[in-house]
Each structure stands twice: as structure tokens, then as C-alpha cells.
Symmetry: C2
Subunit: 251 residues, 2 copies
């Protein structure tokens, strides 16, 4: 069975896409056959790796996913591109019972050919994110160390709990990741302490530092690991990947 | 007729709430009777001014808005709080025909008592943001000067155009605001040049600098104008307010 990591947080701009893309790349470089799925109508994860958004979302079509995915590295990394088609966006967002079953069965076909699947979600707690959580084995929540970060957390945790308690779910809480971390700012240290007090071990030891290379890499269609192999964000995402792989061995 | 400014962008974390709160405060300080409306399920605009999220969203209730708003300064600034109630959130997001008409007529009641209304939207292009655009006289789009900022812009512009062309709309394009601006970063200067080339005069001359005071102020329940009256973000939001008021005189 593949590990399916859902990268989700309703708060916007916290580093969901940056984490999804760079973690997927680090997993591929650790020889895990990895698929990055773009569920965000902005299609940022698709273009961050140099792929193009498509006219119809692959999860709403009938062809096999293997015909619709875009290879990034032969054998180890592929992207299931997103779509900006307004009808598809609304259909995915509404995720009614029929579409939800279809999406879940489409995503289940990935287990046969991939070791890990990473799903990038839009900044929302709506039905599409809930469907993505239902398809996942674990949820990873990026949090920026700022005041508003703590506000929406309880709502998010409630939705995750609801999905974990539903019959068909196989969802575990994968972890909380602190992003755009700047240890010189008082606010960063305050939120770090509050989050670790509240969530304890669930919070990854690895934090992702604020590093302009992470923001520049997507404009070159590359992961930060490819764009700036020795920068601080690259080292942090490699460390995160090792922590994610260790957590697998333990459970 | 009141001016109704819709602060919208589907990209997350670009400074929508920070702009809505601080522009509303600056307008109130310029003696415009101002109402800040929180349409985001995270209720960040509500707590940024020290108010509390409520159990039911005021726009979905029947009492007069004047009974449901929270006064920040007597006579010049009030906030219509948001709600995290999951049923209200889903009803607002779905914004079906009946609810949409109800929301629009509720928002129309604000014209009698306020000079300006500022609406903070969630990071989405869905029906709720479209309803907010329908209720507005102008849309103000904060953009962070980073690569992903340019990606979702065309979709956003299309939605705004659709609303502007519908019969009942009174929507103008208010302007594009560059936020978290750091002139020492190459990426900031590149995106600035690209946005101004493409949009010209529509882009406000005022840019909002990256300033930690803007991120700290909400944890004190204050606008940045109150929290740090002489900081760079405060000066920028006062300048923005003057530009917004000038644009009114011209049109
Ligand atoms: N470690 C980092 N250092 C510096 N900039 C970063 C870092 N991580 C992300 N960014 C930048 O911050 C912005 C927000 O990140 P990103 O788009 O990944 O967040 P998101 O949660 O996916 O946003 P959305 O809610 O819109 O989907 C982007 O412009 C990105 O390039
Ligand atoms: N000028 C600024 N300087 C420094 N930090 C800022 C500035 N403006 C906003 N921030 C911080 O950046 C983060 C994102 O801003 P904000 O929450 O206002 O964006 P948003 O677009 O409303 O996000 P969402 O899409 O989740 O609604 C917040 O933590 C905020 O405090
Ligand atoms: Mg994203
Ligand atoms: Mg906001």
C-alpha cells in the first residue's frame, strides 16, 4: 500500500505547495516512486515543476491516470497536473457523493505503481480537502509562525478528526511542520513554543527556514533541491523527508 | 451611496486581511464612517481588531445589522464579525440563489449608515467571493511580489470581469496593491515591473513594505496604525488610504 500524504491547511500562503513539491522531490531522490497530485485550482504545484495546467482535471476523466500524469524524472517522480477549467474547479469543490466516490477510486489506482503520493490542497476546509483527506494515509499541516496561524487550527483539527473517525478512513495525523521560520523574530519563537506545547511530538523537529531560494525556484520550474542544492531550504526539506521516512518505520 | 471595497484574491496569504483591517482603520481615522465585514471562515479580520467570532453569521440572520455589528470606535469604525459555525460556512460558500439575494439585500442596508464598507474575503474564487463582488462598488486585489502571484491572476480577472458585466453590478476595478514588498529582493522587483507593465495605472503607487509590526499587531487586537503609529507599514496604509480617497474624487 502506498503512503498518501495530504498537505492541507485552510490558512492561505503557509507553504503547502512549496512543501508538497519539495517533499515529493526529496522522496523521489530517496528512491520512492512518487506522484504529486495537484488539487488546487491555482495549479501552483503543476507549474512549480515546469508542467502545464490541463483543460480537464485528470481525476474527473476516465483515462487511466498513467496516461494523464507528466513524468518529471523517469521512474521516480511524476505530477498529476491541475486544471483551471472553471466547471472542473466547481465540480471538484462541490465533490458530491458520485464525484467523491469517483475521485477516491481514481486515487486508489495510484497504489499499484507508486510508493508515495503527495496531494497539494487549496486553502480551504471544504469538501474537496475532505475528499483528499479520505484518500490519504496521513495529513501534514504546514504552519507559518504568525498570529493568524493559531486561529484556524481548531477548525482544521476538527475536520481531520471527523475524517479519521469515518468508517472507510485510513488517515493518521502525519505531523505539523513549521515553515518560513525566522528565529530572529520574537513572533516566530512565541508561536513555535505555543504549537509545541499544544501538539508535542506531532510537530516535526525539522523547521523550514525562510529562504528566498524557495520562492525563486518555481520561476525556474524546479524544486529548490534542483535550483539551489546547498541552500538552507534544500537541507531542511531533505531533513524533513528523512523524518517522514523514519515516522513510517516506527508506525 | 456608500463605497463598498471588496478585498479579494484567491491566492492565499497575500495580505487580504491585513489590508482590509488597516485600510478600514485608516478610513475611519479620515472620518469616513466605516464597516469592516468578515466573510472569511477563519475570522481573522474579526480577531485582528479584538472582536470575537460569533455562533451565527450576521448576514444569515434576520436582526438588523446594526444590532449585530461590534463597535471599535464610536461613530467611525465597526466590524461585522465572522462565524466559524460549519453549517454557516458551508451555506455562505454555497451561496445559492436565495441566500445570495438575502446576502445582497443585507449588505445593501449598510449604505444608509456608513460612508465606506470594507469586505475581507477568503482565499477562493467561489460563489461567496462572487457574491461579495456583486455587493461591491470596487475590488482591491493585494498581490505578494512572488512567482505564484502571477499564476492565478488571469482567473481572478475573468471572474471580476464576469461580475462587472452582469446587469445588477456596480463594480469597478479599484486597484492592485503590492504587499510584503522588499526592494532588496530581485524577485520583488521583477514581479513589480511585470505587474505594472501589464496593469499600468490600476496598480496603486503605494506599496506595503514587509514590516514585522503588521504581523504583530493582530496579536494585540489592534490595527498596525494603533499598535505602531510611526512604523513603515502604518505610513504605507495611511498613504494607501489617501490614494483610495483620491481615486474616488476622480471617478
Ligand atoms: N521557506 C520559504 N522561504 C521563503 N519563501 C517561501 C518559503 N516557503 C514558501 N515561500 C513562498 O511563500 C509564498 C507562499 O507559499 P505557498 O504558495 O507554498 O503557500 P500555500 O500554502 O501553498 O499557498 P495557498 O494557500 O495559496 O495555496 C510563495 O510565494 C512561496 O514561494
Ligand atoms: N506588510 C506585512 N509585513 C509583514 N507581514 C505581513 C504583512 N502583511 C501581512 N503580513 C503577515 O503575513 C501573513 C499573511 O497575511 P494575511 O493573513 O493578511 O493574508 P490573507 O491574504 O488574508 O491570508 P488568507 O488567504 O489566509 O486569508 C499574516 O501572518 C500577516 O500577519
Ligand atoms: Mg498552494
Ligand atoms: Mg485573510
Amino acid at each position: 500500500l502506498a503512503r498518501v500524504l495530504c498537505i492541507a491547511n485552510q490558512k492561505g500562503g503557509v507553504g503547502k505547495t512549496t512543501t508538497a513539491v519539495n517533499l515529493a522531490d526529496a522522496l523521489a531522490k530517496s528512491d520512492r516512486r512518487t506522484l504529486l497530485v495537484d488539487l488546487d485550482p491555482q495549479c501552483n504545484a503543476t507549474s512549480a515543476l515546469g508542467a502545464k495546467a490541463v483543460d480537464h482535471h485528470p481525476l474527473l476523466m476516465d483515462e487511466p491516470l498513467s496516461d494523464l500524469q507528466v513524468g518529471i524524472y523517469p521512474d521516480t517522480l511524476a505530477v498529476l497536473p491541475g486544471s483551471r477549467n472553471i466547471d472542473d474547479v466547481q465540480r471538484l469543490a462541490a465533490s458530491d457523493e458520485t464525484d467523491r466516490r469517483h475521485l477516491l477510486s481514481r486515487l486508489a489506482t495510484t497504489h499499484a505503481t507508486f510508493d508515495t503520493v503527495v496531494i497539494d490542497c487549496p486553502p480551504s476546509l471544504g469538501r474537496l480537502t475532505q475528499t483528499a483527506l479520505m484518500a490519504s494515509t496521513e495529513v501534514l499541516m504546514p504552519i507559518q509562525c504568525e498570529f493568524f496561524a493559531m486561529e484556524g487550527l481548531t477548525q482544521m483539527i476538527e475536520v481531520i478528526r471527523d475524517v479519521m473517525h469515518s468508517e472507510t478512513s485510513q488517515l493518521d495525523f502525519g505531523g505539523i511542520l513549521l515553515t518560513m521560520y525566522d528565529p530572529t523574530l520574537e513572533l516566530t519563537l512565541e508561536v513555535d513554543a505555543e504549537v509545541r506545547d499544544f501538539f508535542g511530538e506531532v510537530v516535526f523537529e525539522t523547521v523550514i527556514p525562510r529562504d528566498i531560494n524557495a520562492a525563486e525556484a518555481p520561476s525556474h520550474g524546479q524544486s529548490v533541491l534542483e535550483y539551489a542544492p546547498r541552500c538552507r531550504a534544500t537541507r531542511a526539506y531533505i531533513e524533513l523527508c528523512m523524518e517522514v521516512l523514519e515516522r513510517d518505520d516506527e508506525s
